[in-house]
């Protein structure tokens, strides 16, 4: 046994206790799921108060819609909380945790869609759900046109959805996914905070510090946006959707509507949103936060830098942009796609074939683990790269023993296995959903890029329809539902949802 197994036993015992409890029941007990889900809906209902207040202050009639939707949501939430209150302490088995993640995201999106349907925008059900799902999964694909003239309530509601979705994702990535061993996330359970054996306890412990960092970043970004010349309202909205890597804007032209300084601020805000939030918390080492000593961060920054440099050079050499403008747009677009934000500073569809191919491929990279970004994630690519290197070495030394190290720690075979499974499922999902999109009538480029974009929770795709300056409104309804489902799958890291469809899940 390699030494790495030692650090593993702690985690292994923990999940054994988790699962043995899960397996002792034949039928899954939904009460804790509904109970916790109720709390999440309550948060959503409270959040609806904010746009209501904003609309009330700016004397817009929509405040009633938000108030009523909020009350409705709160009513359902309270019913769930009171009705499903477990007798003893609430605790989750892993089966229930799987159920909770999917149910929570789906039900929140359903309730969050209410204001879109009944406000003055009067979106149809499909559009409203698409918009809400796109917001909560921090995708940022929109069906709304004419944002510049919309009441402030609906604008801040969209930004809030991004922001809440981002918060939910970090908590899920940090507290729940590692326990569930999704796609190699076990690695991150070896971080400082895995002494607890209860998801709830872990949640309380981790959530506090991370939320603080998240809030701090948002405030910083808002101030920076404001200092760079945005109005206060726009600054807050954009800060929320940048740190959450969501990508909803208050203007149809997105960030192209604002000045150069604002765009640079957005670049840094997006990069912060795509970095590992766990690593910003905790003690500093050598006088700097741990995030700077992390292998994933190094790859992430190196990757962003290279891609931005190449594209900037291309724009400068081929499309005659001045160096400064080329660098700004390249850095902006690359970080927008890699961190899966989906902001747009210029129509990069017009950059020609090379840019199309590069952005299409960048869409599969994704941010760091424990960030608000989606996609495959840098850490998994690192491991795959190492795996390919080992295969290469093994060809020459068939009997050698090779171990992959990550952050100076050996990686166990099981972790590699789950990373492998994840990536395979990712590309399979991408292929299946692209096929489904072409079946409802989309052309090849729209289908391929739309599917990649939804799965990675980016937002814009490539092509005339859903490109950076495009809009998802003209798509057929069926395509919108497919995309919304894909966003959810991508956001919940595939396996969390896929496992609900396996027979053994329900057999217990």
């Amino acid at each position: 046994m390699p030494p790495s197994t030692i650090c593993w036993t702690g985690g292994a015992n923990l999940s054994m206790s988790l699962v043995s409890r899960g397996e002792s029941e034949d039928v899954i007990d939904l009460r804790p799921v509904l109970f916790i889900n109720g709390f999440l809906l309550l948060v959503l209902a409270t959040a609806m108060g904010i746009p209501a207040v904003v609309d009330l202050v700016s004397e817009d009639r929509d405040w009633r819609v938000f108030a009523i939707s909020g009350m409705l949501t709160a009513f359902v939430a309270l019913t769930l909380i009171l009705g499903a209150r477990p007798k003893d302490r609430a605790s989750l088995t892993s089966r229930q945790a799987f159920m909770l993640t999917t149910v929570a995201w789906t039900s929140s999106a359903a309730f969050a869609a209410l204001p879109f349907m009944f406000s003055e925008q009067h979106l149809r059900l499909t559009d409203a759900v698409f918009e809400a799902m796109s917001g909560l999964t921090t995708t940022g694909a929109t069906v709304m046109i004419g944002l510049d003239h919309m009441p402030k309530g609906i604008l801040i509601w969209r930004a809030l959805l991004n922001w809440l979705g981002g918060e939910g994702i970090i908590i899920m990535a940090v507290a729940i996914l590692p326990l569930l061993r999704i796609g190699g996330m076990q690695v991150f359970r070896m971080e400082s905070s895995d002494k607890t054996d209860q998801i709830k306890a872990r949640l309380n412990q981790v959530a506090g510090s991370i939320t603080l960092v998240y809030l701090g970043f948002t405030a910083l970004a808002a101030i920076a946006f404001w200092a760079a010349g945005m109005g206060r309202f726009d600054a807050v909205c954009h800060a929320m959707s940048a740190i959450s890597t969501g990508g909803f804007s208050t203007s149809d032209a997105k960030l192209a509507h604002f000045n150069t300084a604002v765009q640079w601020v957005a670049v840094f805000a997006m990069i912060a949103g795509g970095s590992s939030f766990t690593l910003w918390t905790g003690p500093w080492k050598n006088g700097r936060p741990r995030v700077l000593d992390d292998a994933q961060t190094h790859w992430y920054l190196a990757f962003l830098g290279t891609a931005a440099g190449v594209l900037g050079a291309w724009q400068w050499a081929v499309n005659d942009m001045t160096p400064g403008v080329a660098l700004r747009h390249a850095a902006f677009s690359v970080s927008s796609v890699v961190t899966t934000t989906g902001f747009v500073s210029t129509d990069f569809s017009a950059w020609g074939g090379f840019a199309h191919v590069v952005f299409f491929i960048l869409a599969f990279i994704g941010g760091c683990t424990g960030s608000t970004g989606g996609g495959v994630k840098i850490f998994r690519w690192e491991l795959l790269f190492a795996l390919a290197g080992i295969h290469l070495k093994r060809l020459l030394h068939p009997h050698g023993v090779f171990v992959i190290h990550y952050n100076q720690r050996p990686i166990a075979q099981q972790v590699l296995d789950s990373v492998l499974g994840f990536v395979v499922m990712y590309f399979l999902t991408f292929a299946v959903f692209s096929l489904a999109l072409t079946m409802v009538g989309l052309d090849l480029i729209t289908a391929l890029s739309g599917s990649a974009s939804a799965l990675a929770n980016i937002g814009p795709g490539i092509g005339d329809v859903i490109g950076p300056m495009g809009n998802y409104r003209p798509l057929p309804d069926l395509a919108k539902w497919i995309l919304a489902a894909e966003m959810l799958l991508g956001r919940l890291e595939l396996f969390t949802v896929a496992v609900l469809f396996s027979r053994s899940y329900w057999r217990g």
């Binding site: 699962v19 291309w314 074939g353 491929i361 795996l387 060809l395 296995d417 090849l444 053994s504």
Partner: protein, 482 residues
């Protein structure tokens, strides 16, 4: 210093075979009264000279044949012969420049079938036969690689297909020889049967032979610019389609059949997936043809099945120009191009078995989520898949995806549009042939592309044919150290 003599031996022998093969077009041209026969004879003589020089000059008793020599030999066996095979194209009536000629022969020998010659219908028959022969020889080389070389080198999970250890009554060498003869006989036999059937269905004897060779090798060079569509004959299409399907099947199965082990055919999981994928793709494309193009059921099936089989097996023949079909068939074909045929066939691509491995593993992953401590092992044809094999497959897949991404980016960098760059890269790596879009789609030609683009594509074809790692390993520094 690495002992390079075994490498020269192998490459020299292959050049000898290539030189002999050049006699066939020479004879045909001589009979037709084309002056070109001289070019073939001279090229053949030159090739033979170099081949013999390599073989005789490096002959040494008892030189060691290690794993590194095998890697080098495998790589150069695919890189050097196309350069000599290009001679007749350069000095023949076409007077192609070096880039075009090398592109054509690399495409031929890797059984890709991407062509930059326009006006095939009026070409002298010698050249047409030469192109078909390149496909055919390339197909044979591919099978030899997949059956004998790659499993031994453990490239990309191919170690699962090592020849089983012979029983006590049989020596390993005799068994290998027997396998080789059976496969060679099967390959030649199927080619002849196909040629005969095509001739009966209405092709001329020459066309029948050329198409049979390009079909069984899943190469795809045709004798007409309109490919198989030129004949507009359902029987011919049917025969070629079956030929392509056979070309995408593992040729080791013929050995099983020769042993009287017919049940192996039915039990092979890879074949089942292969046929299932073909059927699914055909269904999708045919349905689209029926609903969107208003074709009748039978003709939709005829065109749909042919196209799907041609793309998935990496042949690249076509009956209709599918480049302008809508999103759904384009997406189906695009994804199928990555799949390819079975291991041990003449096809390229990722291959069906790797998807099976990964799928089996993904299912195990899912079960493990619910039962972290159960011992769950992915299996293939009722054999457990060892951990290293899964690692190899994943490494392979990653490098495949990476090469695709880099190649597509490089192509786009040189000025191709999105569709041409992406499908061209996929098509070259999978040794398919045509891409999508107006330029390199079926019916189009690679002729108009710039020279760097052609070299990149040719490099992609070789890289894909060598299953990446065979070539990649040469760039590892320790490879060259003692």
């Amino acid at each position: 210093m690495l002992d390079l003599r075994p490498v020269f031996q192998v490459v020299g022998t292959l050049l000898g075979i290539l030189a002999v093969a050049m006699l066939a077009p020479a004879l045909l041209d001589f009979r037709d009264g084309n002056d070109e026969w001289r070019v073939f004879v001279v090229s053949g003589g030159l090739t033979l000279f170099f081949g013999l020089a390599m073989v005789l000059g490096t002959r040494a008793p008892g030189c060691r044949h290690g794993i590194r020599q095998t890697f080098l030999a495998a790589t150069f066996a695919w890189v050097v012969p196309p350069l000599f095979a290009a001679l007749p194209l350069m000095y023949g009536p076409l007077q192609m420049d070096f880039t075009d000629a090398a592109f054509e022969t690399i495409s031929g020998l890797t059984t890709t079938g991407a062509s930059n010659i326009h006006g095939l219908d009026v070409l002298p028959r010698g050249l047409l036969l030469w192109r078909a022969l390149l496909n055919w020889l390339g197909g044979l080389g591919t099978i030899a690689m997949a059956v004998a070389v790659l499993p031994e080198l453990a490239v990309g999970g191919m170690q699962m297909f090592r020849l089983e250890i012979p029983g006590p009554g049989e020596r390993a060498t005799t068994r290998t020889a027997r396998v080789a003869w059976v496969i060679l006989a099967a390959y030649g036999g199927v080619t002849l049967v196909l040629a005969l059937l095509l001739w009966l269905a209405g092709m001329s004897g020459f066309q029948a032979l050329a198409h049979a060779m390009a079909t069984i090798s899943t190469g795809g060079f045709s004798t007409s610019d309109a490919s198989v569509g030129n004949f507009d004959n359902a029987a011919i299409e049917m025969i070629i389609m079956i030929g392509m399907i056979v070309g995408g099947m593992p040729f080791m199965l013929f050995f099983q059949l020769a042993k009287g082990n017919g049940k192996a055919l039915l039990r092979d999981g890879q074949l089942r997936w292969y046929f299932a994928l073909l059927a699914l793709g055909t269904m999708g494309v045919s349905l689209w043809l029926m609903t969107s193009r208003g074709l009748g059921g039978l003709s939709a099936l005829r065109f749909g099945a042919f196209t799907v089989v041609s793309v998935m097996t990496g042949t690249g023949m076509f009956t209709v120009e599918y480049g302008n079909w809508g999103g759904m068939p384009a997406a189906i074909l695009f994804f199928l191009a990555f799949v390819g045929g079975c291991a041990g066939s003449t096809t390229g691509g990722i291959k069906v078995f790797r998807f099976q491995f990964l799928f089996a593993d993904a299912l195990v992953q899912m079960r493990r989520l619910l039962r972290p401590h159960a011992v769950l092992i992915a299996s293939f044809n009722r054999r457990p898949i060892p951990e290293e094999v899964l690692g190899s497959v994943m490494g392979f897949l990653f490098v495949y995806a990476l090469s695709f991404a880099l190649l597509a980016m490089a192509l786009a960098f040189l000025g191709l549009d999105f569709l041409t760059a992406v499908t061209g890269a996929a098509s070259a790596l999978a040794n398919l042939g045509p891409g999508l879009g107006s330029e390199i789609g079926p019916g189009g030609s690679y002729a108009a592309l710039s020279d760097p683009v052609k070299w990149l594509l040719a490099g992609g074809m070789l890289f894909g044919r060598l299953e990446m790692f065979t070539a990649l390993v040469l760039f590892v520094p320790t490879f060259w150290r003692q």
